[in-house]
Amino acid sequence: MSTKKYNFNSALVIGGCGFLGGHIVSHILDSDPSISISVMDLRIPNTPPHPSVAYHAGDITSLDDMTRIIQSTRPDVIIHTASPVHGMGRDIYFKVNVEGTRTICRAAKAEGVKAMVFTSSAGVVFDGDDLINVDESAPIPVVAMDAYNDSKAEAEKLALGANCDEFRVCAIRPAGLFGEGDRQLIPGMLSVLANGQTHFQLGDNLNLFDFTYILNAAHAHLLAANQILSPDPSIVSTVAGEAFFITNASPIYFWDFPRTLWSHLSHVSSRHLILPRSLAVVLAGAAECWSWIVGKEPGFTRFRVKFSCANRYYNIGKARRVLGYEPIVGLEEGIRRSLAWVDEEKAKEGK
């Protein structure tokens, strides 16, 4: 027992087949192979990536499913990362994020699970304006920026509200996740490159952004699970019921990230067509009007212009102090690994 590295013997990763969940599973196995890990997800792959991991298919909005799976896995801690992909409607967001989280909390309490780490989002504090070096004292806006962040904020409130001595809960708020398995950020930037549009720039590129390499977020979840089940009550009290921003602790100017990515692929744009924020907002407004007239979903929106031109970076002092978190992989290495993964995926498709 004294050789035990972490304070839990078993974990259930909900959403463990997803981008973040998959990395959490791998990271825990790499850190301590003796921990018994179970995965629950809506769909289970035909060939499970980890033989030592038990995979369970189930719906987190179903109390029966949750109860059955918790009974068969008996986890010390639940790591709840499940969340709908971007592009779903409001109803799906609230059903999965809010009702799903409610169901998990209910089932976990009933079955005597000791703790849960909930994956929230740094976006829960975003209201369309700058987020300049904000910490966890920043309020969740009354009027959310969009349905996704609204549902995520509601879910976080619900999860942290479920925290009690018998069932401890904390929330991890990662910002700007990218890495192997990334289906949104890296591929999106690569398609800009493929479309020959790398010379466009919205805003003056003086706004800072926090990107987080996926393994660092996985590491934060492991640290949180460990601390929240500490035998020391004074440690537990600083973690349970709390939310933590997680970043790479390296905010950079927004457009420097895609440009770094493109330079790794031997592309450097020699000129930039800079659209000032105010002009871009007007053009976006016009584009939205046009989309409305023709009955299409708008792609170029005022929200996205504001998003690209806003500061969004965070003070992770709390995660450092309480969880002992430090990013273990830097941005440059994270980008290198992500691109290596993209190459591997292309090779597989080519085969």
Binding site: S83, H86, D130, L185, A284, W290, R304
Partner: protein, 496 residues
């Protein structure tokens, strides 16, 4: 040349004029109350460094003499170290025992080469010793201790044949070298500040921060002085860095190697930038205004110089310097931490603007700039101002609604009355204008008749025109939309 440059930049000419006209020393020195020895010391200070002389003389009287003497003693040490005409067997004991020399009244040194710039300081060093022995013992102790460490460090380097032939090897060596020639100066000054009681006594122990203060200045100078040092056959850029970009430092001057040279200077700048937040942290705790000025002015000069040398090809061909107007403007501005942070941010962003993805240090430079930005935001949080502003706006809106609610009839009445007035006014003006026009012979009846009979375009024509316009607008927005969609879409990151 200088004047032409000034005319091209009126704001800097204004800064120089203002500086010369209005700048008032915080603590003006009065030579008439000083002993002849002390007066001579200040003259020697002026001879060796006009810029530092000006700043030292503005220090609080308690610190002015100790700092002045500290400077002269180290300059004396440096004059011996620098002199290539002094044989090693004579130089080494002088360097190692220089702290002991400070107690030998009447000691002077007349064996510097005739071209050694500051030899006069050593010819009259007895004057310096006399004044040194007159200051408080605790200040003497600090100066002697630093002198001993620096002297031994310099002697070690002077004896190091490999260092003299090959220059600095690793980044660690680079830091150590800069520690001996500059970090120790920062440490010594901090101990003088702490010992004096004018600043928090803990400054005497902040060796990491004071070392960074020294290293930031020294590294900036080493980058800037590339050409001058190369011409003097000295090499201070660490081989660990430059060997990634060329086989020998001298190759950087070749235009064919410009890309590699600029990338190397970028990495040198990156290395220096890591000290920036330590410098700001050091400055943030200072209390006395003259001490703050004394410490802050060289640091803002350094960040300005770093922005100047960053990816600047001129560094490899000549000595680059910040403009005098620029320097005066910064000296007058750097009076408090907020202003210093603003200056640091301005130059950090200048470095950022010059940054290019073709540089292998591109992302690392961006991260280094981001750290400075984040540091200043931690100390002067604009987010809190934004939030307070929002709260204020919300409160105002609530008050307005309440006020409107409190007098619903009055409010409605006022609005209604205003609307009625506007309508009547415009109707009146219209009638008046129409009447006058009619009197002058306008035939409105014919105009209306013609309008009534005018043929309108057919539905088909309207549809065709709309389609043409739609295509143009559609293709324009499509292009912008596609780019913005993909880039902004990917930043709206969701967890899966």
């Amino acid at each position: 040349m200088g004047y032409l440059e000034l005319l091209l930049r009126p704001s800097e000419l204004r800064a120089i004029t203002q500086y010369k006209t209005w700048h008032q020393p915080l603590h003006a020195r009065d030579p008439t109350t000083e002993s002849p020895n002390r007066v001579r010391c200040y003259e020697l200070l002026e001879l060796t460094s006009r810029s530092f002389s000006a700043v030292i003389q503005e220090l609080q009287p308690e610190l002015r003499e100790p700092v002045m003497l500290f400077y002269l003693v180290l300059r004396g040490l440096d004059t011996i170290e620098d002199d290539m005409t002094i044989p090693m067997e004579k130089k080494e004991p002088l360097l190692r025992e220089f702290d002991g020399i400070l107690e030998k009244k009447g000691w002077t040194f007349t064996e510097n080469g005739p071209n050694e710039k500051d030899r006069q300081l050593l010819v009259e060093f007895d004057v310096v010793i006399e004044e040194f022995l007159a200051i408080k013992p605790n200040y003497q102790e600090v100066i002697k201790d630093i002198t001993s460490k620096m002297g031994n460090g310099m002697a070690d380097y002077a004896k190091n044949a490999s260092h003299n032939i090959n220059g600095v090897q690793t980044v660690e060596d680079y830091d150590l070298y800069c520690h001996y020639v500059a970090g120790l100066v920062g440490e010594g000054l901090s101990r003088l500040f702490g010992t004096s009681g004018i600043e928090d006594p803990r400054y005497a122990d902040l060796t990491d921060l004071s070392n960074s203060m020294g290293l930031f200045l020294q590294k900036t100078n080493i980058i800037r002085d590339f050409r001058e040092d190369l011409d003097d056959k000295r090499r201070f850029w660490p081989k660990e860095i430059w060997s990634k970009y060329c086989a020998d430092l001298s190759e950087f001057a070749d235009p064919a190697n410009e890309a590699a040279a600029l990338n190397c200077i970028s990495e040198m700048t990156l290395d220096a930038l890591r000290h920036a937040t330590d410098c700001l942290l050091y400055l943030s705790g200072l209390r006395d205004q003259s001490v703050f000025n004394f410490c802050a002015i060289p640091q803002v000069m350094a960040i300005s110089t770093l922005a100047l040398v960053f990816r600047n090809r001129d560094v490899f061909h000549r000595n680059v310097k910040i403009r005098k107007g620029q320097a005066c403007a910064m000296i007058m501005k750097a009076k408090n931490l907020r202003s210093v942070c603003d200056i640091f941010l301005d130059y950090t962003r200048e470095i950022h603007r010059k940054n290019t993805p073709s540089d292998p240090n591109f992302l690392a430079i961006s991260i280094a700039c981001g750290k400075i930005e984040q540091w200043t935001e931690t100390v002067f949080p604009s987010q809190k101002r934004l939030m307070l502003q929002k709260a204020e706006d919300a409160r105002k809106r609530a008050n307005e609604l309440e006020a409107a609610g409190r007098n619903p009839d009055g409010g409605v009445s006022d609005a209604t009355r205003m609307a009625i007035f506007v309508i009547l006014f415009w109707v009146g003006v219209t009638v008046l204008m129409t009447g006058v026009a009619t009197l002058f012979g306008a035939r409105f009846d014919l105009a209306f008749k013609r309008i009534w009979e005018m043929k309108w375009p057919s539905a088909e024509e309207l549809a065709a025109n709309a389609e043409k316009v739609g295509k143009v607008v559609g293709s324009a927005t499509e292009t912008i939309t596609r780019t913005a969609t993909v880039v902004s879409e990917t930043t709206v990151v969701r967890e899966l």
